[in-house]
């Protein structure tokens, strides 16, 4: 983990490359490519956020959360409910040229609100569930997603008498904002997520999490307040899931519990993070990009085989790539090292595990 002096030049190079990548992504919608590509890259961002924020908590502590779909869905519903509250009273009476800026500002507010609601909910949830041992925590979070979804469905049918809501602008009936706007907000959330995980990993909190993942009882004996560390990081990771959901609502347009709380939003991030590898910060992002792309192709070309292939990849990834794609890098390096008989390296590979 610790990068020491001799690597400073490498670090500068990495930072420079990252900056170039960021500039490329920030200008991407202006290259005149069809909007299909903007939406595709936006999907990469969305799954990147989910996979990285999943790894932020579960990757480090070893507590497998299947709750991403819950927080993502809560973000979606935060935007949906806030919008339907404001639609008649505010957006319908605004002059036409003030409408779009107001909706854009609203969406940014909704992203913050979605993050906050998820944060508070995760905090409460964490307090009651994180005493549970591993496997029970996993099935609890899984059951939670279905429970929230079924509960909202029941409430919608029996109390509000409706099922599903549409998010459209008053008057024109157009989507709330352009794909480009969603793209930039999603990019912003992804950058925030990556910065958060970067700083958490370098902080005392990150070390405490690593020690919980290594040996929870041991960490406790060393004076780590394990419950507090787990609850805080669980809640922080939920912020980004909720924020991503909040902006995704504008893209989905039609919202109902089955769409918002789709369990795939729990499984795909886990699969992406495992597939990409959690030894490095960028592992889940790589996993997300590859998987979101595979998913897009399978869904359009072979929709019947999509779940089958997804299931098989999940099993194979767990069986044969415990360290993920990133975990393969040191293995390959080792092969090269052996063949070249490089002088006493080795420290570098151990750093990843």
């Amino acid at each position: 983990m610790n990068v020491t002096r001799p690597f400073t030049r490498r670090k500068l190079l990495a930072a420079g490359l990252l900056l170039l990548l960021l500039i490329f992504l920030a200008t991407f919608p202006f290259y005149g490519l069809p909007s299909y590509y903007t939406v595709l890259v936006m999907t990469f961002f969305m799954f990147g956020i989910l996979a990285v924020s999943w790894a932020m908590f579960s990757g480090a502590t070893g507590y497998m959360s299947l709750a991403p779909a819950a927080f993502f869905g809560i973000g979606i519903y935060t935007t949906t409910i806030l919008y339907s509250l404001l639609k008649v009273r505010v957006f319908s009476v605004l002059p036409v040229d003030a409408l779009q800026p107001a909706v854009n500002a609203f969406l940014i507010g909704a992203v913050v609100a979605g993050g906050l609601v998820s944060f508070v909910l995760a905090l409460l949830l964490g307090l009651v569930t994180l005493r549970l041992k591993g496997i029970y925590f996993a099935i609890f979070t899984f059951g939670l997603v279905v429970f929230i979804s079924e509960l909202i469905l029941f409430l919608e049918i029996h109390i509000t008498g409706t099922r599903g809501r549409t998010l459209i602008l008053p008057g024109t009936g157009a989507p709330l904002c352009s794909n480009t706007t969603i793209y930039y907000i999603m990019l912003g959330i992804l950058v925030a997520t990556l910065l958060a995980i970067y700083f958490i990993r370098r902080s005392k909190l990150g070390l405490a999490m690593q020690s919980i993942g290594g040996n929870e009882e041991g960490a406790e004996h060393m004076g780590v307040n394990t419950t507090r560390v787990k609850v805080i990081t669980f809640a922080i990771s939920a912020i980004f899931m909720g924020a991503a959901g909040a902006i995704m609502a504008a893209k989905l347009i039609y919202i109902d519990p089955i769409i918002a709380f789709n369990l795939n939003y729990s499984f795909l991030p886990v699969l992406m993070a495992i597939f990409g590898g959690m030894g490095q910060l960028y592992g889940p992002v790589i996993g997300a990009v590859i998987f979101a792309y595979i998913q897009r192709i399978l869904m359009t070309e072979f929709p019947k085989y999509y779940m089958l292939i997804f299931g098989i990849i999940l099993i194979l990834a767990i069986l044969y790539m415990p360290g993920g794609l990133v975990g393969l890098v040191p293995k390959l390096q080792k092969v090269r090292l052996l063949s070249k008989l490089w002088k006493g390296g080795g420290a570098e590979q151990r750093a990843n595990t």
């Binding site: 070893g62 497998m64 009651v128 569930t129 549970l132 041992k133 591993g134 496997i135 029970y136 996993a138 099935i139 609890f140 899984f142 059951g143 939670l144 279905v146 429970f147 079924e150 509960l151 029941f154 049918i157 029996h158 499984f267 886990v270 495992i274 019947k304 085989y305 999509y306 779940m307 089958l308 997804f310 299931g311 098989i312 990849i313 999940l314 099993i315 767990i318 069986l319 415990p322």
Partner: protein, 291 residues
């Protein structure tokens, strides 16, 4: 009032017996093989769809079709454990790590099995009629197929109980559940016993699916709800306890019939999941289970 209560209890018993059978299979897979098999319901679905296919395709008696579907599901379960879970088990650094990985792998199985079944049988809802004869009791009509299903479920539970408590293999299974390492030292072939347990779990799921298919509509997506029912019953009755599964099954069956008869059937999924979440929070080791 008394009539309604009686109806609730009888319906509760009718569904509860099946619930108990479902739970026993999962209890065996998690209690002994330490695999929280979230794909358990998919084996139930396979059992049900196979029965439907054999009945409509070859006019086979649903109960007798167990001779085909039972061994088939046992072998599938056995092979899945031999290939997938065995290598996860040998590689895992700890039991907790194995449980986490095997849960994820089981999710993969869930998706794979469900989509293979949908490819074979499509997503249409299937039904067939078998012994759909009404019997009146205390003012309510019950169908014979449900009574037969209950009888078979209870008989299978008793046979299974005797097998685990009396037979030599049953003793090996109990030893493996208690302490795999020591059991291994005592000459139990652990890998074999665990694979047999997994196969037996799939067999019991298949039998439950067969019984469900006699009175319920089927589709390839019914699995997950039964998995959750099995999880609730296990948590109610205590992990690895066969009498516990029976009692837990009947308790959940009666709760279910109260919701359907006195309340709102559309609420039942919410209530089931609600009970599930509360039970995990309050008593993950089970109400009747040992800590």
């Amino acid at each position: 009032m008394i009539d309604t209560t009686l109806r609730i209890v009888i319906y509760g018993l009718l569904t509860g017996g099946i619930y108990a059978l479902i739970a026993m299979g999962l209890s065996l897979q998690y209690g002994v093989a330490r695999v929280l098999n979230i794909a358990h319901g998919e084996f139930i679905m396979l059992g049900a769809m196979l029965t439907w296919a054999l009945h409509t395709g070859f006019k086979m008696n649903p109960l007798l079709s167990l001779a085909v579907s039972g061994p088939l599901l046992f072998v599938i379960g056995f092979l899945i454990h031999r290939t997938l879970f065995k290598s996860l088990r040998t590689r895992a650094p700890s039991v907790a790590a194995f449980e986490g990985n095997s849960l994820l792998a089981a999710f993969g199985l869930l998706f794979a099995i469900q989509s293979i079944a949908t490819l074979i049988w499509t997503a249409n809802t299937r039904t067939y009629t078998y012994l759909n004869i009404g019997v009146e009791f205390a003012g309510t009509v019950y169908t014979v197929n449900r009574l037969v299903a209950l009888a078979v479920a209870v008989a299978a539970s008793v046979v299974f109980y005797l097998f685990v408590t009396r037979s030599r293999l049953g003793k090996a299974i109990r030893a493996a559940a208690q302490d795999p390492a020591t059991a291994g030292l005592m000459g139990v072939n652990i890998d074999m016993v665990l694979a047999i347990c997994f196969g037996l779990g799939a067999f019991l799921a298949g039998l439950a699916g067969l019984l469900i298919s006699m009175y319920n509509a089927l589709s390839t997506t019914i699995g997950l709800n039964y998995t959750v029912i099995a999880l609730i019953v296990i948590v109610l009755g205590g992990l690895g306890s066969i009498p516990g599964s029976l009692i837990g099954g009947f308790i959940l069956g009666i709760i279910g019939s109260i919701i359907i008869i006195r309340g709102d059937p559309s609420l039942s999924v919410v209530v089931y999941y609600g009970i599930f979440l509360i039970l995990i929070l309050v008593r993950p080791a089970g109400i009747l289970g040992k800590k």
